[in-house]
Each structure stands twice: as C-alpha cells, then as structure tokens.
Amino acid sequence: MELPEILFNPLVRGILGLCLMGGIFLGAMAVIWFERKLSADIQQRYGPMRTGPHGILQLVADAIKLFSKEDIIPKNADRLLFVSAPILLLGSIFLMLVAIPFGAVVINGITYPIAATEMDISILYIEAMSAISIVGIFMVAYSANNKYSLLGAFRNFARMIGYEVPLGICIVSVAVMAGSLNIVEIAEAQSPLWFIVMQPLGFVVFIIAMLADMGRLPFDQNESEEELIAGWITEYTGMRFGLGFFAEYMHLILGSMLITLLFLGGWNLPAALTANTILGIILPTAFFLGKVVLVILGIIMLRWAVPRFRIDQVVDLSWKRLLPLSLLNLGWVIALGLLGV
C-alpha cells in the first residue's frame, strides 16, 4: 500500500497543520484539566467535580465564561502593543507546531511522520520560533505599564536568555550524534538506543533548560503569584488572559514533545511490531504520545515537589552550572563520535 500523492501536496499539509492546531487546543484543555485534578489529588482535595463526570467539562465552562467577560484595556497602557501581544504569543506556538511531528505512520517498513511540514533545518527553526514568545511576554508587560508586570518581564528576560544558550548547545550535541538538523532524522537516529542513554548529562541539562523555557515551576519567576500578583499577565483580563494562559500550556505540550523526540526515542519501535499495516498506523503514534503524556505527568508532579527558585539562583544556575555542563556534554559527544559510536 502506498500513500496517495495528494497527501504530500503542501496545501494539504497546511490543512493537516490546521488540524494539528485544533488538536493541540484540545490537548491543552485536557492538560489544564489534568493538572487541576492531579494537583488536587496531591493536596488531598477533589478539584473540579461539578461540571460533567469528574469535572471534565470544567474547561468548556471556563471558556464560555472567558468569552463573556468584558475586555479591559487600562488607560495608561500602550494600546497597540497591548492588543497585538497575543499574536506573538500564539504565533510563536503555532509556528513551532508546524515543524514538530505528532507521531508517525509506518507502512511497509517506510515511516511517514505526521507533521505539517518537513524541513532540513527543522530543529533550528523550532528553537527560533520558540524564542519569539519572550518578545510577546515583554510586550504584554511593557505595554501594561504595571509594576508587577514589568518586574515579571525583566525576570523572564534574564531567565530565558540564560537558558537559551545551554538549550542550544544540547540541541547541537543531539544534532552531532544524529548528523542532521531535521527533527525526523534525529528521532529516527535513536532507533536502537535512545539519546538519553548515549548522553545522560545532555538530557539532564536539556530538561532543566526546557523547563525554564516553558516557564514551569520551579522556573516560573515571570509569574511568581505569591509576590507579583500574576507577574507579566497581571493586566490581562478575560479572553486576553485566556489566550496567554493557553499559549503557556500549548508550550508545555510542545516542549514535552521535543523532549521525547530528541532524547526519548520518538516513535521508534522494533520493525516486527509495525509489520502489520493496522498496527503500523496506530502503534508508533500511540507509543510517542504515551511517552509525551508521561513527560507531562512528570513535569506537573515536579511543580509540587520543588519550590520556586530565587531569580539570582536561577540565573546563576544557567550561566555558572548548565553552560559548562552542556559544553562538557558536547565534548563527550565529540569523543563518542571519534570512537565511532
């Protein structure tokens, strides 16, 4: 069986991208519900229970509420920046999503990744698009003319630029090992052995840097509710807040996908398991998404295990610990390469 030619048409791929966009919206809603339930469990509460069985419709109710809330723009705010900042927040997420495969279909031993587009430099492209969200966050805070927001945004900038460098070096180490910047080829290069086994140090540095990149606890200094109200998003109300909030959760999902693709083996399964056509269509994607869910689960639980760091500790951690460690990992990868691994 061959895939029909029409599936490789770029316009059809664009429509696939729109479907993935819808999928990630639903995914973000599920993750928000999941986080609320899990956090409640950890704190021995019930969490949302009233809307639907186990509160599963809570997010639908929240969305309806946000849509019917009045949109307030403070009179001291810079209106143009204030209104256009969500475009950057969401644009960064959606442009990242275009290049990330959401799984793969194996037919007759040939793997077709489920991604809107395949590029030679996709990992570089993804990192670049992910970095745009910093500008969006700063735009929100600067335009709002609120002191809490601005403090949050300054912290965010200091943190993000610190973690961008070790993150980049870890991605380079992975690219050296796979010999490619294409994320599909990187995932497939881990066919017998996952990169977490080959470069455990790189994995640790990458996951810490990725947590900071996603703004998850213990690295959510841009929000730090206890001291800065809601940090950078303080002046956003109603649906505008909803868009920023959603962007954060979509970033969490995409970040977990990147962790899985770069270090946890992606969708690779032994060829015997995917020989059957139906299994080949279902299993790799299910395996991949299963690992992504486990990563998300770990990240959510980490939120209740580690307290937030102070901003100077965070910045020191990135510049004085992670940067040398990531260079050490790069040296390790080069040494492995010279040994012919």
């Binding site: 770029p10 009045e70 001291n76 475009i87 709002a144 980049g168 002046e235 901003i311």
Partner: protein, 130 residues
C-alpha cells in the same frame, strides 16, 4: 552525500508555515472581536486604572532598570551566536571524512569562547546583584 538541492522543495516545505502564520495572525483579533460582541460593557473610572494592590498607582512603571542587567543581554548575544556557529558544524561532523579536522577546529573555537567566559566570570559580569 552531494545531492543537488531542489529549491522548489524548500519553498514547498514553507507553504504550510505561511498558511499557519496567516491563521495565527488572524486568530487573536477574531477571538477578541467575538468577545466584544458577546460581553457586556460598563464604564467606570476605577476600572481602567492600572492595578497596584488596590491603591492609586504612583508614578510610571517604565523605569530605568539597573544597567548591569544589560551585561546579561550582551553575554547572551555573544554565546548565542557561538551556538549558531555550531549548527552548520554539527551537520558535517560525521560522514564527510573530516572528523579529526572538525574536532580540532571546534576545540580551538570553544577554547577561545571559554576564555571569554572565564573573563566574564572573573569580572563578575554574571553576578545578579553586586
């Protein structure tokens, strides 16, 4: 290894990007338009004030920040460009028979950058509050 790159393939791979970009540009304004039609409106002076723990805000929030903060930005630009130089190197490291040469070149490059890094550390440019 040296296959001819078909430029139309590269352009094709960015068509979905363009489609998603248009949607991403349109989505927030459309959402806010929907909110505008659905939500109630009421005016009061206090509502449009910047939030500052319930009291009337004092002064402007857009202050001059400590200049040492920008040392981080400069260090970031230096190191991020260093990482950018690593990307093309990473793709040709394996399978081109230049592994030894590439290793030596990279070690020299990293040594030079590390020299700058140690200088920054000794100058305490990477210290949050002096």
């Amino acid at each position: 290894m040296s296959e001819i790159i078909d430029i139309s393939n590269i352009i094709y791979s960015y068509i979905p990007v363009a489609i998603i970009l248009v949607v991403a540009l349109l989505m927030p304004p459309l959402t806010m338009f929907l909110v505008k039609t659905l939500s109630p409106r009421s005016r009061s002076a206090a509502k449009y004030q910047t939030y500052e723990a319930g009291s009337v805000p004092t002064g402007d929030a857009r202050i001059q920040f400590n200049v040492e903060y920008y040392l981080y930005a400069i260090a970031f630009v230096l190191f991020d460009i260093e990482v950018l130089f690593l990307y093309p190197w990473a793709t040709v490291f394996k399978g081109h028979g230049i592994m030894m040469l590439a290793t030596v070149e990279m070690l020299v490059f990293i040594f030079v950058v590390l020299f700058g890094y140690v200088y920054l550390l000794k100058k305490e440019a990477l210290k949050w509050m002096k």
